[in-house]
């Protein structure tokens, strides 16, 4: 069940051919050709990133469409997580990290001098590879963001917590256990708790870094169904090792390889008619 651009949106021909490092302008042009697509929420322009001397991302240019699931796939160490963590500036504290190029959120640079990184992260929620609930109650986990950011009057917190837990399809399972520690839930429930925690901040974008890698197939399926539900409200970017997962849930797929965005396009196109031979080699399982 490959999901295509469901609500009738078309996305030009977002075929990003690999520049192979020889021609830099070639890697920028696909964004231009995407101009008839819906205004991207997150957009990166010739984004380069270094960990010390290690050049981890090369000229990544991508426009992530709103209210859709964009999957970033690729073999280990290819830069997909590095790119994902760049979007909410989680690299700010990484020693030796450097970058060039830009990433835009709603048209504004996230690296602009006046950008408040705290406010930015409030708008861009993140879910990590391993469930990392706080050692607090289920309720306090979800209420963490609203409390921290003083987003509402305290009397509204219970409603917000319930809403976030319902959105994360967890309410029915935990409504009677809100006072129990979040760490006592099962792995899949913990991950949905982390999603609920992120949603309670009412972000615009939700970043997920291999959210199912620590989960069993049934828990994975629940998260996938949840993501398809959530894309109506949120823009979702998911990093995944699992190509079937990308094919199942995403509308757009970006293939990263050795720090480059080799190909980006509608998921169906990337998986059935990949333009770059490396993409084809990867999705057919010849490497990675």
């Amino acid at each position: 069940m490959t999901t295509t651009a469901s609500d009738g949106r078309t996305v030009g021909q977002p075929a990003l051919s690999a520049a192979k490092g020889s021609d830099r302008t070639a890697s920028v042009s696909p964004t231009v050709r995407q101009s008839d697509s819906p205004t991207p929420v997150v957009e990166s322009r010739a984004y380069n990133f270094w960990y010390g001397a290690n050049h981890a991302l090369h000229d990544v240019t991508i426009a992530i469409p709103p209210h859709a699931i964009t999957a970033l796939i690729g073999p280990s160490g290819c830069g997909k997580t590095t790119f994902l963590r760049s979007i909410n500036r989680m690299h700010d504290l990484t020693p030796g990290a450097r970058r060039t190029g830009d990433i835009l959120l709603d048209g504004g640079s996230i690296f602009a001098p006046g950008m408040d990184v705290v406010a930015l992260r409030r708008r861009i929620g993140m879910v990590f590879q391993r469930p990392n609930p706080f050692p607090k109650s289920v309720y306090d986990n979800v209420a963490y963001g609203p409390r921290l950011n003083a987003m509402a009057a305290p009397r509204e917190f219970p409603d917000r917590v319930e809403r976030a837990l319902r959105q994360a399809a967890l309410w029915d399972e935990v409504s009677s256990r809100l006072r129990e520690p979040g760490t006592a839930l099962s792995g899949g429930q913990q991950q949905r708790l982390c999603i609920a925690r992120a949603l309670a901040n009412e972000p615009e974008v939700l970043l997920l870094d291999e959210p199912c890698s620590a989960l069993d197939p049934i828990a994975t399926q629940r998260i996938e169904e949840l993501l398809v539900e959530l894309k109506k409200t949120y823009t979702i970017v998911i990093v995944t090792h699992n190509m079937q997962q990308a094919a199942r849930v995403s509308d757009y797929t970006g293939f990263f390889y050795v720090g480059q965005l080799v190909e980006f396009g509608e998921t169906e196109q990337v998986f059935t008619r990949p333009i770059d031979e490396r993409t084809e080699a990867y999705i057919t399982g010849r490497f990675g």
């Binding site: 020693p95 993140m126 990590f128 391993r130 706080f134 607090k136 982390c194 925690r197």
Partner: protein, 324 residues
């Protein structure tokens, strides 16, 4: 697929020898390893038998009576127990904020190049001999307290019972402050390791929710490490309770219960150190043994609680083991 007896019989002698030396080696190590826990039991036994005459004579009243009269052979340890607890609590009140600040700074905020030097110097404080602290206390700390700390304290809080009387130098305050300085390195070192053991994912979770770095520390890192941090504090308490030399030199050694920090006091450790050489009668000696027994039980219990709490933070990993 059968075994190869030829191969096995080829060098039976050497195999046998290895086996025997291994067994001896293991037995020796086992003996040493069990010897240390055994030593604790022996110490407990010696203290108990030594304290037996006093235990029989005074019973539990030893704990809450205040007379300490070697001439009349009447002994009550309440002032020492009070002084021990009071000086330790005072030390904790001063040392805990300081040590936690150091640990949080070093793990969360310090620039990388500063981390190791500061951690090293703080831990070096623990290497200074107690008697040096005592001497420094007499010649530096007490004059400093008299000139710069006690006057403003009296000006602001002079009406409270805690600051009554004249400050002559040797006092609960001086003893508590020197103890605080001495336990800061322990609390800081263990707290630092506890904070280092807090998974990065907890910090990241908080940061990704829009927490500032300080908010992440306060709302995610500290709560996660809470048990271990409490353990670090209790470990410091254990140190403070048993510390002898520096406190003996500064606390004034007066056998009396008084709430004023400016007045001299006494601790159990100081009493044992001061009086054992002059304890001429059996009962006097036995009373000191009983003081030692109380101190032993108190510090062992406090340390046991501390270690359990510290180990609980990172199950399996011996967090803080380096500093313990």
């Amino acid at each position: 697929m059968t075994s190869l007896p030829v191969e096995r019989l080829a060098r039976p002698q050497s195999l046998h020898a290895t086996d025997r030396s291994d067994r001896i080696y293991r037995r020796v190590l086992t003996g040493f390893a069990l010897g240390l826990p055994l030593l604790i039991l022996i110490i407990l036994g010696v203290l108990f038998t030594g304290a037996l005459p006093a235990l029989k004579r005074f019973g539990p009243t030893f704990l809450w009576t205040s007379t300490w009269d070697p001439v009349a052979e009447i002994y009550g340890a309440a002032p020492m127990i009070f002084g021990t607890l009071a000086s330790s609590v005072l030390a904790l009140l001063i040392a805990v904020p300081l040590a936690l600040s150091v640990a949080i700074f070093l793990t969360e905020f310090s620039p990388g190049w500063l981390r190791q030097p500061v951690a090293f110097l703080v831990e070096l404080l623990a290497a200074i001999p107690s008697v040096v602290y005592g001497t420094w206390g007499i010649f530096v700390l007490i004059p400093f307290l008299r000139a710069h700390v006690v006057p403003p304290l009296k000006a602001v809080l002079g009406w409270t019972p805690f600051l009554q009387g004249v400050f002559y130098g040797n006092s609960l305050l001086a003893g508590g402050v020197i103890l605080a300085i001495m336990i800061v390195p322990y609390i800081a070192a263990v707290s630092r390791e506890v904070l280092l053991a807090v998974p990065a994912s907890q910090r990241e979770a908080a940061l990704a929710m829009g927490a500032t770095r300080w908010e992440a520390v306060r709302s995610a890192v500290l709560p996660y490490g809470r048990a271990g941090l409490i353990g670090a504090v209790i470990l410091g308490l254990g140190r403070a309770l048993g510390e002898t030399m520096a406190v003996t030199m500064l606390i004034g050694n007066r056998h009396d219960i008084g709430v004023s920090l400016l007045q001299p006091a006494y601790t159990m450790a100081a009493a044992i150190a001061n009086e054992f050489s002059e304890a001429t009668t059996n009962l006097y000696q036995s009373a000191l043994f009983e003081v030692g027994l109380i101190l032993f039980v108190l510090t062992v219990a406090v340390n046991a609680i501390a270690r359990v709490l510290i180990w609980r933070v990172a199950r399996g990993q011996a967090v803080g083991s380096r500093a313990l």
